[in-house]
């Protein structure tokens, strides 16, 4: 029973990992940028949820809407200032540009919030499903994660700007030739990817304490997940998140918790070696 309960708990957190990874993989899929500012952006999502909750008393789940909008604007700014000019340069340029953004956010964040842990003091009690007891925040986070991913899918497949994003991801030159302003579409994609990172951060903040540095480990997890799911494949990223979350739930029940990263990154390398296109039926 302990096993099942750990597994379910892990999978619920996995939904949130999934949202963060979907953001990362969207940016990679559309513009082939490895976004190293993803972690700090998640931390900003944690802090903006915290500020809305602690200062204005906004319910953290309601706050997510504001956090998403904040993330969208933040992403547009990061793209315009740091990424756009190096978008056609070799990958190393955009990698370093987003790394610089990463350092800037961490620097400012440390100055403003210090590095002492913050905590959203919000509990909804727990829900028991038979013998399995789960914190309600985990369940709600999973629901919110599903909701945001579903919204993204509807956007990408049923709206004009969403389809334009897929067109630009598929063939940027052809998109330009058809009258699609690709620079604007890239900025929008970066904004959406950043918004998803912020939302994931906000959800994580409802169950763990955090600092401005807390995004780092989740960024790394996002990379593992993206590779599991196939880089550039949003649905694969969500499923990869569930897989990683499930593993994180299970591993500590059979061995010391310090083995979690060893197995995670072992899996990462294994997938890269054996099936670099991703475990979950990624596009080529």
């Amino acid at each position: 029973m302990q096993l099942l309960s750990s597994l379910i708990d892990g999978i619920l957190i996995g939904f949130v990992y999934g949202v963060a990874a979907v953001g990362l993989t969207l940016i990679w899929g559309v513009m082939s940028v490895i976004n190293l500012s993803h972690g700090p952006v998640m931390a900003l999502g944690m802090f903006s949820t915290y500020l809305l909750f602690a200062n204005l008393g906004v319910n953290p789940y309601l706050a997510l809407i504001g956090v998403a909008v904040f993330g969208l604007v933040l992403g547009l700014v990061i793209y315009t200032v740091a990424v756009h000019r190096v978008i056609s340069a070799p990958h190393l340029s955009s990698l370093l540009a987003t790394f610089a953004v990463n350092m800037i956010i961490i620097g400012i964040g440390t100055a403003v919030f210090s590095t002492s842990p913050h905590n959203i003091d919000f509990s909804l009690g727990s829900i028991s499903l038979g013998p399995i007891i789960l914190p309600a925040t985990r369940l709600l986070a999973a629901v919110a994660a599903i909701l945001f991913t579903a919204l993204l899918y509807i956007f990408l497949y049923f709206t004009r700007p969403g389809k334009a994003i897929r067109a630009v991801a598929n063939n940027r030159t052809a998109a330009e030739l058809m009258g699609i302003p690709s620079a604007q579409v890239l900025a929008l994609s970066f904004g959406i990817g950043t918004a998803l990172a912020c939302v994931a951060g906000g959800l994580i903040a409802t169950f763990f304490p955090f600092t401005i540095l807390s995004g780092g480990p989740y960024e790394l997890k996002s990379f593992v997940i993206c590779v599991l799911g196939g880089l550039g494949n949003p649905l694969g990223a969500l499923l990869g998140g569930l897989l990683l979350g499930g593993l994180e739930g299970l591993i500590p029940t059979v061995m010391p918790v310090s083995w979690v990263p060893v197995l995670e990154f072992g899996l990462f390398i294994l997938v890269l070696l054996v099936k670099p296109s991703g475990l979950l039926g990624a596009k080529s």
Binding site: A164, R166, A167, N170, T173, A175, E176, L177, M178, G179
Partner: protein, 236 residues
């Protein structure tokens, strides 16, 4: 009236200059063919006309407006539309979505239904395949999507680069017949073709590109009868 006017245009790739002062005028409602050997710079010229390549010198005037410094999507918004070499479809999207994306520009939005009907009448095959991923179509079907997508953009000028490349003679013939239908509806077109004979046979006017410049131009019929054209491009 000239729909497109290219004056003294030069361009190339980095240090390598390919075009050295090209002059070209396309009249409204006319079908024009651009002929030249492989690697002479036909695609380079079209890429420069569309703004995918920067002009080193010279101007591109479209419908009376200087577009030399406009981004490709802005040119498409004016009705300057290229069906590019190698099709360049949105392979991960369905046939229908490809056509939809063709109509992305504001000028095309108002005519989506009309143009969709036009495209499906021209290529009934696409209607059957509308929900299939474009990347999984046969070569000929993909070429139909490329042309259809271009038509969805409500072109003022439709430029077609290597329309018949890799198609069976029969399919190529069908596509050329489609071009004649389009010409009857008043569309201005510029054709770049390996199949010089067929292209000139359906065209009103022709240009011959060599050594980075237009070396010869004239009525398509007279080019077909020109000895040098026959020797160099028609193998007669």
């Amino acid at each position: 009236m000239a729909v497109l006017e290219v004056a003294d245009l030069a361009s190339g790739y980095g240090e390598v200059q390919i075009l050295w002062g090209v002059n070209l005028t396309l009249e409204k409602g006319k079908l024009t063919t651009l002929v030249g050997s492989n690697g002479v710079g036909k695609t380079t010229l079209l890429r420069t006309v569309m703004g995918l390549l920067r002009a080193i010198q010279g101007t591109v005037t479209f419908a009376g407006q200087d577009v030399t410094h406009l981004a490709p999507h802005a040119r498409a918004n004016l009705g300057l539309v290229l069906v590019p070499e190698g099709r360049q479809l949105f392979t991960e999207m369905t046939v229908y979505e490809n056509l939809e994306m063709g109509a992305f520009s504001k000028r095309a939005q108002a005519h989506v239904q009309d143009n969709l009907e036009k495209v499906f009448t021209l290529f009934p095959r696409l209607k059957e395949r509308r929900s299939q991923k474009a990347g999984t179509l046969s070569g000929g079907e993909q070429q139909m999507v490329a042309v259809g997508r271009g038509l969805m953009a409500e072109p003022e000028l439709l430029i077609l680069d290597e329309l018949s490349l890799g198609l069976s003679p029969l399919l190529a013939l069908n596509l050329f017949e489609s071009l004649l239908t389009l010409k009857k509806s008043g569309l201005t077109m510029l054709l770049v073709e390996q199949n010089v004979q067929m292209a000139l046979a359906v065209s009103d006017y022709g240009y011959v590109l060599a050594e980075g410049k237009v070396q010869l131009q004239g009525e398509a019929r007279s080019l077909l009868n020109n000895e040098e054209v026959q020797r160099t491009y028609l193998g007669i």
